[in-house]
């Protein structure tokens, strides 16, 4: 038999002014099942809470309704009080007499009448509440970070510094990512490699970090605290345990004409290679596509030359399974392929290059040793035209967004070029300059005012190569209001920042959403910028949106804080507002499985004692369920119910309103 206590709060004058609280308490006392009904000036105060606690103890209450402010305000307060008095906190409900009644109605009798209704509804609901207990989920205190760029490195280092284990998975043979390819960084012009390489080494040598380079995530199963990840370790053909990184193999490799991905295809590499001299780990891999030993069975020079016998042509991909409690996605970005712009030569003009190619030209370790020389003939260009917003903010190309970093790196490029070629002319076409950031506007001003970059506001309509090899750049100067035509030797396009190709697959594996552009979706754009819809999966860096290095690093550290927070306790406690499947009723039409935004509803095989599958039903993984109840309403059999908002409870609420 239900024994319900009702507690009406005056909230000072806030409720009491328009609602006759004593009358509400009197009316409530008459409701079936209500054994105590009291009103008090401030129910949330210590004496108020004590009043509830005493009533719970003395009256052996089975349920409590506190009629006060919005539950968003004090539900936790009152539930905690109930728990302290020995009542399961989920047997307490609140009626919102303040925000939904006394504050929005002036007529005292009408407001009082409505208040009685609100209490009646909650009394009927709470009678049908059942005790719920926080869901405990085991947490495997190891994190996996996907992507070994600056975002991944930073997240891994911070998690490792917090004393937790990290597996850092990187697709390419070395960590470092795009940042390792940059010449100098805005707005300080410090050398990118100088600041990055120590962090790379630190990541490799940290006892808490396991590096898995040349590896890709193949499958992700499980849920927060308990992910099971399958990682494909691609065949390296070089035994990293034996290799000392002496470099004899790639010096002697006869295949030396392979365009280097690291050098944005401007430099060359051998078939057995490390992407760049400071690579971490500094151990080569064999590019199976270009190695003649692997393709034709001829050569074998590297095996002969290797003093440690580390070369193994029989090496195979290996699948490794790891258990992790949290996943950080830091897969970064790539540049849009500007060959889709017919007016900029459709990718056919070799001296029309992208930002990364310019970075490699400007980098001291690049293919031209830091001299700006154009790809076609190796000449130093006397006029370089930089074009911003190439693809970005162009809805026709499907990218309505701003790539955020181009204004800054273009200013940097123009500056670097002017520093290296003193009599050279740097012309920048821009739509507008977006230099929001610490020291950023000063930086672009410096490019214009001190370093003599010529900024032209307008779009370029066409680039073509004249017979004498000059690139003719025609566009509009919209400030001067006239067309311009520039004879350039090199054109640098600030191509849009786009997510990594195939990133959708990884997102789907993890249950993370992505926007129309393919950038991963955060759980909330303002308040949960590093979490995702998938509990336990976090985002760092440009895989979420175009970002510069400081923002990327900040987000990576935020991820680490989230991961460390998650790992702080051995078990994770979650709100028990989750869906449950009545397996007797479920006919496995899979509508709920299709519906769940979190992948929490899953197939479950029911077996007999011999282990034969008798039936397959849906099951809710309480580690993943967030309690929205969409599956409940989708189920035609009503085989699913939602704790805290059961059909029975809602039915009672509706019936009370008759």
């Amino acid at each position: 038999m239900a024994r319900i206590g009702v507690f009406i709060c005056h909230c000072g004058e806030n409720i009491g002014r328009t609602v006759d609280c004593a009358a509400v308490a009197q009316e409530s006392a008459k409701l079936p099942g209500v054994v105590v009904s009291l009103d008090y000036k401030y129910m949330c105060s210590d004496p108020g809470q004590q009043m509830i606690k005493n009533a719970i103890a003395e009256q052996k209450l089975t349920g409590v309704v506190v009629a006060a402010c919005s539950p968003r305000m004090h539900e936790t307060t009152f539930r905690r009080a109930a728990a302290e008095a020995g009542l399961n906190p989920y047997l307490l409900e609140m009626a919102n007499l303040r925000e939904h009644c006394s504050w929005v109605h002036e007529d005292r009798p009408i407001a009082t009448g409505k208040a009685v209704d609100l209490v009646r509804v909650m009394v009927e609901k709470v009678k049908r509440n059942r005790a719920l207990y926080p869901i405990q989920v085991n947490v495997e205190p190891t994190a996996m970070v996907v992507g070994g760029g600056i975002a991944g490195i930073q997240a891994a280092l911070d998690i490792a510094a917090g004393g937790k284990k990290v597996i850092l998975v990187e697709k390419s043979p070395s960590i470092g990512g795009h940042m390792a390819r940059l010449s100098e960084t805005f707005p300080t012009l410090d050398c990118s490699q100088c600041i990055l390489t120590p962090r790379m080494v630190e990541a490799a040598s940290h006892p808490n970090i396991t590096l898995m380079t040349y590896s890709e995530v193949e499958a992700v199963d499980g849920f927060i605290g308990n992910f099971e990840v399958t990682i494909r370790k691609k065949a390296r053909y070089v035994d990293p345990a034996k290799c000392t990184g002496c470099g004899s193999c790639y010096t002697k490799c006869p295949q030396k004409k392979i365009p280097s991905e690291f050098d944005a295809l401007l430099g060359k590499r051998s078939a057995i290679y490390t992407p760049f001299p400071q690579a971490v780990p500094n151990k080569p891999v064999i590019d199976a596509e270009h190695c003649t030993m692997l393709t034709k069975g001829k050569c074998g020079v590297c095996k002969k030359i290797c003093p440690r016998d580390a070369i193994n042509y029989e090496d195979k991909d290996e699948l490794v399974k790891v258990k992790v409690g949290a996943i950080v996605l830091a897969t970064g970005f790539e540049l849009w392929d500007h060959s889709k712009y017919g007016e900029y030569g459709g990718g056919r003009l070799v001296d029309v290059i992208d930002g990364f190619q310019f970075e490699r030209l400007a980098s001291a370790s690049g293919p031209t040793a830091g001299e700006i020389r154009r790809p076609s003939d190796g000449q130093v260009p006397h006029t370089v035209v930089f074009i911003q917003c190439c693809g970005s903010r162009d809805e026709k190309q499907g990218m309505a967004y701003c790539s955020k970093i181009c204004c800054m790196y273009t200013a940097k490029h123009a500056m670097l070029y002017r520093h290296k070629v003193h009599d050279g002319r740097a012309v920048v076409f821009y739509m507008d300059i977006r230099a929001a950031g610490k020291g950023y506007d000063e930086f672009t001003r410096r490019a214009i005012e001190s370093d003599g970059a010529e900024y032209v506001r307008g779009r370029v309509s066409r680039i073509y190569r004249r017979a004498d090899g000059k690139l003719i750049v025609r566009g509009a100067d919209t400030l001067a209001g006239r067309p311009v035509s520039i004879e350039a030797d090199l054109v640098v396009l600030a191509d849009a920042v786009v997510p990594r190709k195939g990133g959708e697959k990884l997102a789907q594996m993890c249950g993370v959403g992505y926007d129309t552009n393919g950038f991963y979706s955060e759980a909330h754009p303002k308040l949960r910028p590093v979490e995702t819809a998938a509990a336990g999966v976090f985002l760092a860096g440009a895989c979420q949106a175009p970002k510069d290095i400081p923002d990327t690093v900040a987000q990576a550290s935020a991820c680490a804080a989230k991961v460390l927070g998650l790992f702080a306790a051995p078990k994770l406690e979650r709100e028990p507002i989750v869906a449950r499947v009545n397996q007797n009723l479920c006919v496995h039409c899979r509508a709920c499985i299709n519906t769940c935004p979190y992948g929490a509803t899953q197939d479950r095989e029911i077996k007999d004692r011999q282990g034969n599958v008798v039936k397959v039903v849906a099951e809710v993984n309480e580690g993943l369920c967030q309690g929205c109840g969409t599956c409940v309403a989708i189920c035609r059999s009503n085989a699913i119910d939602l704790d805290g908002f059961t059909d029975e409870q809602i039915f009672a609420e509706i019936a009370t309103l008759e």
Binding site: G342, E343, G346, R348, Y464, R466, A467
Partner: protein, 305 residues
């Protein structure tokens, strides 16, 4: 036998007669009947919309209405300007019901919007699909062509289906003839267009740049689909050369002429003897002259003087 409506427009019986001749020849070869719209009028070209917007729509409207009345589902408008006006009118009518009603009052003919307008490139590509591709016995091996689209075969998002910045509607047909398409820069630049009469100097500058780039790219000829471009590049080339801007001797051929050549049609039948910049020498590389050919060349030379 397939049949397609035909709107020759003004230039195909005048300056663009080679276009008319070569198109009719190719259609016959591909066994497609061209049904000329009865009682057609001027499309308004570049002039009408400068004077009166209603007139600029009413003129093509009447042509479309007549075509619909005569049961023509598709109509070829070989002149790029005619194509642009006719198809553009279709697009505008579709967007605005008021406009359609207005035009019906002005022209006094109903039009539901059913007529589909084909450009020269769409039409020729269709002929290729309908079997013309198998009827090109001559390989124009070694012929270097610069396909020139100009504005009306590349611009107008809802009119031209090609990529405005790097159109390619002519390339496939040209490659099918065995000709080599050169990589050049001025395929969509302006030839001067409608300023042919009013601002001839501007035309000379613009057309000169096109010719210069084609020559620099090593083209033997420029291929076009627009009579206006053709006259600016072909007829005005003489003036460009005589005023010392450059010496090109660059024949300008219609796409249909190139295809006709590959199909083994005679130079005279194609109207290749009617060009200002002699095209016969080029043509003879693939269609060696009979005895009388010299006279034809002479006629052509005479015209060019």
């Amino acid at each position: 036998m397939n049949s397609i409506g035909y709107y020759p427009g003004c230039s195909l019986s005048g300056g663009g007669i080679e276009l008319d001749l070569s198109i009719r020849g190719l259609a016959q070869l591909a066994e497609v009947e061209l049904r000329e719209i009865d009682d057609w009028n001027c499309c308004g070209a570049t002039a009408a919309h400068n004077l009166d917007h209603n007139l600029a729509i009413a003129l093509p409207y009447r042509i479309l209405a007549l075509a619909e009345k005569q049961g023509l589902g598709e109509v070829l408008a070989p002149c790029a300007a005619c194509f642009s006006r006719l198809k553009g009118t279709n697009v505008r009518l579709e967007r605005s019901g008021d406009l359609k009603a207005k035009m019906q009052t002005i022209v006094d003919l109903p039009y539901s919007g059913s007529v589909k307008i084909l450009s020269i490139t769409e039409f020729l590509n269709r002929l290729m699909e309908l079997g013309l591709a198998d009827k090109l016995p001559k390989k124009l091996t070694g012929l270097k062509v610069a396909p020139y689209y100009g504005c009306l075969l590349s611009r107008g998002e809802d009119i031209v289906s090609d990529d405005a910045e790097s159109p390619s509607a002519m390339e496939a047909a040209l490659r099918a003839t065995g000709a080599e398409v050169v990589d050049w820069n001025f395929a969509t630049e302006c030839c001067g267009g409608g300023f042919s009469m009013s601002l001839t100097d501007a035309v000379l500058d613009l057309s000169n740049a096109i010719l210069a780039d084609a020559k620099a790219a090593g083209a033997d000829c420029i291929v076009t689909g627009c009579p206006m471009c053709h006259s600016n590049l072909d007829m005005r080339q003489l003036k460009i050369q005589s005023s010392g801007m450059g010496q090109y001797d660059m024949p300008v051929l219609y796409l249909s002429e190139v295809l006709g050549l590959a199909a083994g049609m005679g130079c005279d039948q194609l109207g290749l003897n009617r060009h200002f910049i002699p095209a016969m020498a080029l043509a003879h590389r693939f269609d060696p002259p009979p005895q009388a050919a010299e006279t034809a060349e002479a006629v052509s030379d005479q015209r060019s003087n």
